[in-house]
Amino acid sequence: MLNEELRFLKQTIYDFSTKEIAPKALNIEENGIDSDIIFRMVEMGFMGAVAPTEYDGSALDNAGYAVLLEEIAKNSPSLAFYLMIQNSFVIMPILKYGSEEQKRIVIHEIAKGEASGTLIYSDILDTVDDQILTIKDGKISGTKNYVMNSSGKYFILNTNEDGKNRLLLIKSGGSKGKEHAKLGFRGISFSPVSFDTTAGLSDYIGTGDGKKLLSEIIDNSAIAMSAIALGMSESVISKAIEYSKVRYAFGYPLADFQPLAFAMSETYGELNIMRNELYRIATSPLDLQDALTIKHNLIELAKKSSKLAIQIHGGYGYLEDFGIEKFYRDSMFLSVLSGNRVAELTAISNMIFGAEVAKI
């Protein structure tokens, strides 16, 4: 399905991911993404993967970017999600909505590994445990409970000023709270951040309603999230398949037992179908309905694959050292972070039904 250029890119990143990321994957989970890895990410051009070359980016298109995330996610979903935050959540919105100054400074710094950014988008997730930030007299205040990469330098966030939601790009200024217990993506910081600051940098980003812009940013990350889910599924089911060939029970390799073999090959088959669809979407003009649909399907598949893989690995699947259980946690966390599930299903339904439905 991939053209030659993409196949070459895939091979390159596969090799990189296998040789350089895989051995460090466990360490990323335990100690975070260290400066060595960031250095290599910069060298490889992954930090600014989607940024134009004029801002020191690699100018990957949708499909190339998907290949990158898929291959990195196979070994470290944390690192893949981190790259996605930089590219889909920070660089892309700045490219689309930002000022020239924002582009020159922020994208450059991220691409060079000098800084990282994040997007605070809990405002569009249905949550009871979070506040909306407010602006009064140029000062942002309030606490956001759910901030991924909360130790980053740049924040894109929504604030409410006189009843109006506006998106801002600010330079830190928040105070990071205690790290949350982390369900998944343990290599990335995740904590509350409290703000009591005047907006930094060139503040406003985009002109529309801030919550709507957040939704757009998340919508636009659908292919990227799908690629991460795909890489995770592939990796975990391949590991299960390999393990089932060498692990014996009752005198036979597990792969000899039909229900196990069929469960794995059915999942693998679905995976192939979804991969083909994902790259078809990534290489076509953007179709939001298709992109959201594949995202939901691939995230479900990642959950299903990882559950199956734990089961195949038995007790070993339950231990961190074996690198299986993290997919079970990460896939659920990805599901939670992937956007507002109900709002997205409603959007898909509206498109399919050609009418506003699913209100009740």
């Binding site: 249905d126 009871v128 369900l183 005198g251 229900p259 007790g315 339950y318 659920m332 109900v342």
Partner: protein, 381 residues
Amino acid sequence: MDFSISPELEEFRNKVRSFALREFTEELKHKHDEEESYPEEIRKKVFKDGLVDVSKPWEMLITMEEFCRVDPGLGLSSIVSLFGNEILMFHGSDYQREKYLEKVWKGDLISGFAVTEPNAGSDVAGISSYMKNNGDGTWLLNGGKMFITNGTIADIFLTLVRSSPVDVAKKHHGLSMVIVEKNMKGFSANKIKGKMGVRATNTGELSFDNVVIPESNIVGEIGKGFYYVMEFFNISRIYVAAQAVGIAQGALDYILNYVAVNKKTGNDMADKELTSFLIAEVTTRVEAARLLTYRAASLLFKFTPDPVATSIAKYYAAETATYATEKAMELLGIDGVTTDLERLYRDAKITEIWEGTSEIEKLTIARMLIKNKIKEVEQHA
């Protein structure tokens, strides 16, 4: 048929639930999960408060359920020091009962149950730890065990070992159950770290390097070990089912609480049919799991254990625990990842693995049903 629970048992349920809600504090739940440390202080309290009485099996079952509903890590840890005691109860000598069992019952000794090996999990008869008869009333044990609960804290281990050379056609013959003490020479245990869930429970890898086992530490008859283990699974799997029911109920508690809180804050989530469907689907499966578990338990507690009923309960309840925690996470979304639900989600999955994976339960169920049906068909023929 009477599906109601006696008022006494309901009262007991309230008592253990109150205990769990009071003693399993946020701080302790977090701490023992984060540090992977064993909550010995809670275990002591549980025994002190008389919440563990092996002579009252229904109460044991309810304790398991209600403890796991609040926190599986702490809950399991507080009662799992009894692990394997039924084997001694049924087959132990007077000497073994006095020396070990009574102390285990009082909580003064911690017991472990050591069957699984690195290369033999579901396939129990595939173990290779081997004990050789010295001919002087002692045996020499070599080998190792894997994923052993209480591995580095237990005082004694009910250990399944091979006691005569393996007969390939009859692999489940020639296995014996022995008591290994932690202080025996040649015994060592390493803590297994990094479990996804139930991290307050202690898990270890055991190693036997020329451990001398006195004849008096052989439990029951030599060569009958496999059967004792299978018999024990009829008991332990029901307790795992109860764990799973507790976890699933715990997830349902989160769901209902969240919906109620949302309703209070004006969020219309509670009125959405999607939410209603999710609640109905989870509730239904929790109820089904609980009934299957209680039915298997009622058969066991009348001394008529039914392996089919037991395996059905264990398999279905474990699946329900995983399912319910998944659905709860799905509903709570980002609000779920920073709560205790996050831990419950990690804890749940173990119930599909330990004491017999779901796959093994299914084989057990089917084999007996097919056997019975063939017998029936043959009788009619």
